[in-house]
């Protein structure tokens, strides 16, 4: 396939959001005709269903056409990947005290032995410190995985579930449990939502985060029951206070020991319950089945997926526009037909004409993770320093494994303010040049970045174009911004011309300027 340099393909169709709104996105999910799936569409697919791609990857997917490209991303099990081992992280750091240790502690308390008690406290503090270190390793491990994985959709969905079933290390204080939960989301990433729901109410980190480990028949704790419906499956208003009370009873006894789920029968309330129209001596699984039988469930999950992958729409149906409602309804219908299998839903969305409409393409604000991982993956910059990248994620408001609350991250415009805007620009400057943000040691990372390979595909399709400043700039803008707005094209072409034409340091300078453009924050 020949790559055009300017103005030929889909991006000319982007006449600006005002026009796009006048001509709203289709309210159906009919597939996009293969002839309309080109470079822009493949780029969009890679950005949304993954973390973006290099020109070669974009070109390859464009050449395959929509069916094969979407299947390749969704049927990721066919792509071999190194599975993380069970011993990837140390599970022993936060192990609960043994019976003997507990007795020794109680004895010290009885004897008011301040020295012994201080020793206990000191040891506990040491474990906590060590565990926080492992938590940092886990953060960097996941970030590296997102950057390197040959299965971008699996990691993207793991990130989606992390924000959906949000759990924070701040409360858990057990890095191994956070790792187990992360693995759970990865294992079920594009699998069956029902299966995932059954597993989530057995996940040690979740049970602890929402206090279910302290819930008993005599004193049921409603936290998990409430969020299970409000935030994880049905959405606000799709259940009654009574459903919460009865649901909490159903979940009693669901707890964990060490690193595994335990059903504590003695604490479980076996009495009759009535939840969401289902009745019987329901347990946690019965509660989940009652949830999955609700029409609100596939609709809520469909709108969360649509919000994450397509447009940042409200999750409450009351606040959704007509188009969103129609699309969500159809996705939910697909989910029901597929008995909560998610692949058919994602496939329908990613293949739809709707997904490639100008009101969807380039209209989403990148999350901090999408920004950082996407920059490395699409421009092929060096990774440089995972710790610095991870710090930047935190400064930009997305500290992985530390979502701000059980609601997860709000996303959208809440990612961006004057302060995070500089962090966003500066972390890109670090990736491109190795210049560390102020506050780290002053030594720049020595790896030099050569952006010229980004132009290889351009050169293949149009020999000589990669040394023509106007063509090279245009091509880079279409890679990084998805289009080449006039003001950007002018600024950059002038810059390249004034500094000796297309050569590595000048191109890096041009990319520094592109990544500082407000439009670069969109995907």
């Amino acid at each position: 396939m020949v790559v055009s340099t300017a103005g030929e393909q889909g991006h000319t169709a982007r006449t600006g959001p005002t026009d796009a709104r006048a001509d709203e996105a289709p309210t159906h999910l009919k597939p996009i005709p293969p002839r309309r799936f080109g470079y822009e569409q493949a780029r969009h697919l890679l950005l949304r269903a993954g973390f973006g791609g290099t020109p070669t990857q974009i070109q390859t997917l464009a050449g395959w056409g929509p069916e094969k490209a979407v299947d390749y991303l969704i049927e990721y099990d066919a792509v071999p990947v190194e599975a993380p081992g069970a011993d990837e992280f140390d599970k022993g750091i936060m192990r609960p005290p043994t019976r003997a240790e507990q007795e020794a502690y109680r004895a010290a308390q009885r004897a008011r032995d301040e020295n012994a008690l201080a020793q206990f406290r000191l040891r506990r503090q040491q474990s906590q410190r060590q565990d926080r270190q492992q938590m940092g390793e886990l953060q960097r491990w996941w970030l590296a995985r997102m950057i390197e994985t040959p299965r971008p959709l699996q990691e993207k969905l793991t990130l989606f579930w992390h924000g959906h079933f949000a759990t924070s290390y701040r409360t858990i204080e057990n890095s191994y449990h956070m790792y187990l939960q992360n693995q759970l989301y990865r294992a079920h990433a594009a699998g069956n939502f029902g299966d995932l729901l059954f597993q989530v109410i057995r996940d040690p980190a979740m049970l602890k985060y929402l206090d279910n480990d302290e819930s008993s028949a005599r004193q049921p704790n409603e936290n998990l029951a409430r969020e299970l419906m409000e935030l994880f499956s049905l959405g606000e208003g799709a259940y009654s206070e009574r459903d919460i009370k009865e649901g909490a009873r159903a979940l009693t006894g669901y707890t964990f020991e060490d690193d595994a789920f335990v059903f504590n029968e003695a604490n479980h309330d076996r009495g009759a319950k009535r939840i969401l129209g289902a009745s019987g001596s329901l347990d946690g699984d019965g509660f989940c089945r009652a949830i999955l039988a609700q029409r609100a469930c596939p609709e809520f999950i469909a709108s969360k997926l649509y919000r994450f992958f397509a447009r940042h729409v409200p999750t409450n149906p009351r606040d959704q526009d007509r188009t969103t409602k129609a699309i969500v309804k159809q996705l939910a219908g697909t989910m029901i037909k597929a008995r909560y299998e998610l692949r058919p839903v994602l496939r329908q969305l990613f293949l739809s004409e709707h997904f490639y409409h100008p009101t969807v393409v380039g209209e989403k604000i990148k999350s901090p993770t999408e920004l950082v991982v996407g920059a490395v993956r699409s421009m092929n910059t060096p990774v440089r320093d995972l710790a610095i990248l991870n710090d930047a994620l935190n400064l930009m408001g997305q500290n992985l494994f530390y979502p701000p609350s059980v609601k997860g991250w709000d996303g959208g415009r809440s990612w961006v303010n004057t302060s995070t805007m500089f962090v966003r620009q500066n972390i890109l400057a670090f990736l491109l040049t190795g210049k560390k943000p102020v506050g780290y040691d002053a030594l720049a990372d020595e790896n030099t970045y050569d952006p010229t390979p980004l132009l290889a595909e351009l050169e293949k399709g149009d020999p000589g174009a990669s040394s023509d400043p106007a063509k090279a700039v245009d091509y880079l803008l279409r890679l990084t911004l998805g289009s080449a707005p006039e003001h950007a094209r002018q600024t950059l072409t002038t810059f390249v011309n004034e500094h000796g034409g297309v050569r590595p340091p000048v191109l890096t300078g041009a990319l520094l300027l592109v990544t500082a453009m407000p439009e670069y924050q969109l995907c």
């Binding site: 301040e114 935190n394 500082a516 407000p518």
Partner: protein, 449 residues
């Protein structure tokens, strides 16, 4: 989403100031009936006639000073008439006129037989000038002795230590209507002045759902660093950053929002760096806290509209070798007091002291008895300091008993959320703080009505 100054204060009409003016107008173009939101959350309108202190700018400022690590309250505000004190603090107790700064009666408030650590001379000086309230025995029920957890509890004002920061909720309530289902996202229709934290990351206390704080260690960090890579990038970058919303861009689109924010960031970065470059009116101590407060003082002087600043003074985790009248703890207290004293002298010279209330706290106090290593371990209740001419100067609350203890720890007498309620209702102008504090707390009335 902006920190920029009031353009009417500009004398010269430069390009930068033109941009600022243009921006304000652009921001105001989408009219929103803001009073509906404000009144709905018990927040008064920033309307004329609201001014309670004649001649003082209505833009009231709160500076929070966090003493991290757990400050030993018992060696900060010292019940020197209580023999028990010397029994539990045989090595590190302070005694005698040289070591104790006795708090004399100020106004209606009694001194209650307590004295400040000699390192706190700078605070004592403010106390004598009627600018310091010492709130004793502040804590919360079922105290948590983990630094992280207890700090989260103080910063969220939530007993589980989860959720948004209490000041984040305040700023959210003021700008976007906190608490209405799906959080309101800034729509660019109002100028929002995010809280500023001096530090690498912003504290949880300032994290709102809609408004995110600005944080920087030095203003040098609050700018684009690509400019350092090569001079040739500066001019084209400025063109990009200052272009604002390009023609043909839907003003309500995300693209326009990002263009406005980029411009805002550029303008506020310039403004903050310019503010901080100025020489302060007084000399600040060279400590880290002194430098932080000097920056805050400069930003206030430059007329930034930010209402909440946050500074941090760390190192209070004195498990061993804490020292008494001298030594590590004394040094930390000295740095704290000297920096605060310089800050208020600066504000006074600026004639801004009446606008700035400072609230100083630590995540917990320390255990009553000293330990075997000449230090103290994690404890519970501790004093807070509220500074500024708007406080009812004196000592508030009783010193917690040294004999009626809870498992070797002091029992708190005042819930810290009552102090927050005070700051919110009587200083920041929140009519009803219960929405923000997620519960009703009677204001301590440390701030003058």
């Amino acid at each position: 989403m902006s920190l920029h100054n009031n353009p009417s204060e500009a004398n010269a009409f430069t390009r930068r100031q033109f941009l600022t003016t243009g921006l304000t107008l652009a921001s105001a173009s989408v009219a929103v009936p803001m009073f509906l939101q404000r009144s709905a959350f018990g927040l008064p309108m920033a309307a004329p006639g609201m001014s309670s202190i004649p001649g003082v700018n209505e833009d009231r400022i709160l500076v929070v000073c966090q003493l991290s690590g757990g400050n030993d309250g018992l060696n900060t505000v010292i019940p020197f008439r209580d023999d028990n004190y010397y029994r539990v603090r045989p090595g590190i107790g302070l005694r005698g006129e040289d070591q104790l700064l006795e708090l004399s009666k100020v106004g209606a408030k009694g001194s209650e037989g307590v004295a400040l650590h000699r390192g706190l001379a700078g605070i004592k000086n403010l106390y004598d000038e009627g600018m310091c309230a010492v709130v004793q025995g502040v804590g919360y029920p079922n105290p948590n002795r983990s630094h992280f957890k207890s700090m989260d509890i103080w910063q969220t004002a939530d007993m589980s230590g989860t959720g948004d920061g209490w000041l984040g909720r305040y700023v959210d309530a003021e700008c976007c209507g906190y608490g209405k289902g799906e959080s309101g996202q800034p729509d660019g229709s109002q100028t929002i002045y995010p809280p500023i934290a001096i530090g690498r990351t912003a504290p949880l206390a300032l994290e709102g759902r809609s408004v995110k704080p600005v944080a920087f260690e030095t203003p040098d960090l609050f700018r684009w660093m690509g400019a350092d890579v090569h001079d040739s990038l500066v001019e084209p970058y400025q063109r990009i950053a200052e272009q604002g919303v390009t023609e043909g861009t839907d003003p309500e689109s995300n693209a326009a929002f990002l263009m406005r924010t980029t411009l805002d960031a550029q303008v506020s970065s310039d403004q903050i760096r310019k503010a901080v470059e100025q020489r302060p009116l007084v000399n600040y101590p060279g400590s880290a806290l002194g430098r932080q407060l000097q920056m805050v003082g400069s930003m206030i002087r430059a007329g930034l509209k930010t209402r909440v600043y946050y500074v941090t003074h760390g190192g209070f985790d004195t498990h061993s070798g804490q020292g008494g009248a001298f030594g590590r703890h004394a040094q930390l207290l000295g740095q704290f007091a000297d920096a605060m004293n310089a800050f208020y002298r600066d504000l006074k010279a600026q004639e801004n002291d009446g606008r700035v209330l400072s609230m100083c706290f630590s995540e917990f106090g320390r255990r009553v008895s000293q330990n075997a290593s000449g230090g103290t371990d994690h404890g519970t209740a501790a004093p807070m300091f509220l500074l500024g001419p708007m406080v009812n100067a004196g000592v508030v609350g009783n010193h917690p008993s040294l004999t009626n203890l809870d498992n070797g720890d002091l029992k708190f007498g005042i819930d810290f959320r009552s102090v927050y309620a005070d700051v919110l209702e009587r200083w920041l102008g929140t009519k009803d703080s219960s929405q923000i504090l997620e519960g009703r707390f009677r204001a301590t009335r440390v701030v003058k009505a």
